[in-house]
């Protein structure tokens, strides 16, 4: 999995590309932890190019969202599709995170 991050206003857009498996969820954890420590507490996770996620990956989303919330921020999702969307729906995590169709819409919601 490749992780790209870009600051957009108050938010940082974290783009995930590829597959989030047992190893790559740790990279995602580390990237989000670093961003929150640096003061970027509004994380918009762009999932439009993520093709696969396992339960450990879902745990990472929860862990990072709790961490951001504790610092007064939030973790927002955009671009859910395919298996990743299906998994967020099955676990009803889609109701736990704010979900947007695009990163623009997500960023605007916290502007």
């Amino acid at each position: 999995m490749t992780i790209e991050s870009n600051k957009v206003g108050k938010a940082v857009v974290v783009k995930l590309i590829g597959r989030m498996d047992a190893d790559s969820n740790k990279e995602f954890d580390a990237a989000c932890e670093r961003l929150v420590q640096e003061g970027s507490v509004f994380l918009v996770i762009d999932l439009a190019n993520l093709n696969y996620i396992n339960s450990a990956g879902l745990g990472s989303f929860l862990r990072n969202a709790k961490r951001a919330q504790e610092k007064g921020g939030a973790l927002l999702l955009s671009g859910l599709k395919g298996l990743v969307k299906e998994v967020f729906e099955m676990t009803r995590l889609i109701t736990v995170f704010p979900v947007f169709d695009s990163t623009d819409a997500a960023c605007q919601s916290i502007a």
């Binding site: 696969y52 339960s55 879902l58 929860l62 299906e86 099955m90 676990t91 009803r92 995170f97």
Partner: protein, 141 residues
């Protein structure tokens, strides 16, 4: 009737996961599963196999995992995963409470829940001191 079972046995280690998913892919291809379904199969196999790796054998004690499949028809696979570790029924766990909000949601506990949602007719048995998890995988499209 099932076709003949095909079987592999590997160390119960994370490094075996790729070989196991490729093994099940070969069965899925023979059963004409569409390419778009393979990620769902990977998810089921990853969760089941990681569960065995994490819980079957005490830390530091090596053990094996055995995976078998049989083609039941077009877009239909029967899969069995077994280990010789301590008795452990992954299906006995209480289901996660999906109504909880972010603050209350525990991290973890969703793997077997996902397996139960995607696989069909999943069952556990203890046979000859082995944990045996059996299930069916069906093509979606």
């Amino acid at each position: 009737m099932f076709n003949q079972l095909k079987q592999i046995q590997l160390p119960a280690e994370i490094s075996s996961l790729r070989t196991i998913t490729e093994f099940v892919h070969s069965g899925a291809q023979l059963a004409n599963f569409p390419e778009s379904d393979l990620d769902r199969l990977d998810l089921v196999m990853e969760e089941v196999v990681v569960n065995v790796i994490n819980y079957a054998y005490p830390d530091g004690q090596p053990g094996n995992i055995e995976v078998s499949y049989a083609i039941e028809g077009l877009g239909k696979l029967f899969v069995q995963v077994s280990d010789a570790g301590r008795e452990f029924d992954p299906l006995a766990k209480d289901p996660p409470d999906l109504r909880l909000g972010l603050a209350e949601r525990p991290i973890g506990g969703l793997g077997i829940f996902l397996v139960k949602r995607i696989a069909r007719s999943i069952s556990y048995s203890r046979v000859d001191n082995r944990n045996v998890l059996s299930f069916h995988l069906e093509a979606e499209s």
